[in-house]
Subunit: 204 residues, 2 copies
């Protein structure tokens, strides 16, 4: 309780330590992938004591889980443009900006790679996407309310349909993730939703 | 020239060696990923002399490139059901079957992971997808000719739109890749194509 930050701004120092450690973890993941991630190295890069990092995050999976939680918390909120195509275009451009960013794009690729073999990373990554998709679901619900798309449209699947071609393009081609590719992803998802392609199936 | 296979079936032994080596390479990749792939281990598992493997494939990237070439060559040819939705559904079910197969699914995840950090694997993987997508492009061209979708529809993007949600589902959720998910992917791509969502943009 002698730490002045603890007295004046509750959580201030704790929050700063978390930011420094998660920033360092993200940098190292983007640079070298999950296999090279090491708590001591993260502590050194963050300028934080090793014992603090081990006490608070315990393990690499614990650190990756918190990193993804923080990425979900700090992500851009959904748009409300008044039309489904407008909202999905905003979503597609945001996904494109993230994947096209050198640090963020590499970080996501590293996490997706790690999740294919590491169970804890997979669980944390799936939770991240569930949070991000849920954030944009109200755009589809609003479109249903406006009568733009049929009642019974699976909103989660519509939002996923916007991201899917952008990730697929990144992972299976060497073509640039252009703004036009993002806009087309939004347009295709909106058109399919309007045609009723996301109604009626049970895909789970 | 004393090998009887060489005399009676030209290429017979060479083809069998290739099959054994690529089969062993695929097994090892599916089990342990690219980082663990080693030409000596592949030779041992295939029951083929080490010097043969080193002479013919030279390196791990050389082996992965040939494995992906062989996977593209031996893949199922496109369907011709007479309708775009029928053809895209056949394509989606084939992609689903591959990703849902324990060995094949794991192998693709290992290759996609490796491609995020290894340039040679990425080049070979991108070539694989280009070949597979090109195989199904005539389905869209036929749909244009039948007047099912507008002239100027980007056939490559339509075929990619079928696979994209299936890969995205595999990589970012723990939900099963159901037949209904495959059928919906086909239906969404067909509906978007019919609505003209794949006309007019330049996305490259």
């Amino acid at each position: 309780m002698s730490d002045p930050d603890r007295l004046t701004r509750p959580g201030g120092r704790t929050a700063r330590v978390r930011q420094a450690v998660l920033g360092a973890a993200g940098d190292l993941l983007a640079e070298s992938g999950l296999a090279a991630l090491d708590l001591s190295q993260v502590a050194a890069r963050a300028g934080v004591g090793k014992s603090t990092v081990y006490r608070r995050w315990e393990s690499v999976p614990g650190l990756v889980t918190d990193l993804l939680a923080e990425m979900a918390e700090s992500s851009v909120p959904r748009s409300d443009t008044g039309s489904l195509l407008g909202d999905l275009t905003a979503n597609a451009r945001l996904v494109r900006k993230t994947l096209d960013d050198p640090r963020q794009g590499t970080l996501f690729k590293a996490l997706i790679s790690a999740a294919t073999t590491d169970r804890a990373t997979a669980t944390a990554l799936h939770r991240f996407y569930a949070v991000r998709i849920a954030e944009w679901v109200p755009c589809v619900d609003a479109a249903i309310a406006r009568g733009e798309v049929p009642a019974g449209t699976d909103a989660v699947e519509v939002i996923r349909a916007v991201s899917a071609p952008l990730y697929y393009r990144c992972l299976t081609t060497d073509q640039a993730l252009t703004l036009a590719a993002a806009d087309r992803a939004a347009e295709a998802a909106a058109a399919a939703a309007q045609a009723g392609a996301f109604v009626g199936h049970t895909v789970d």
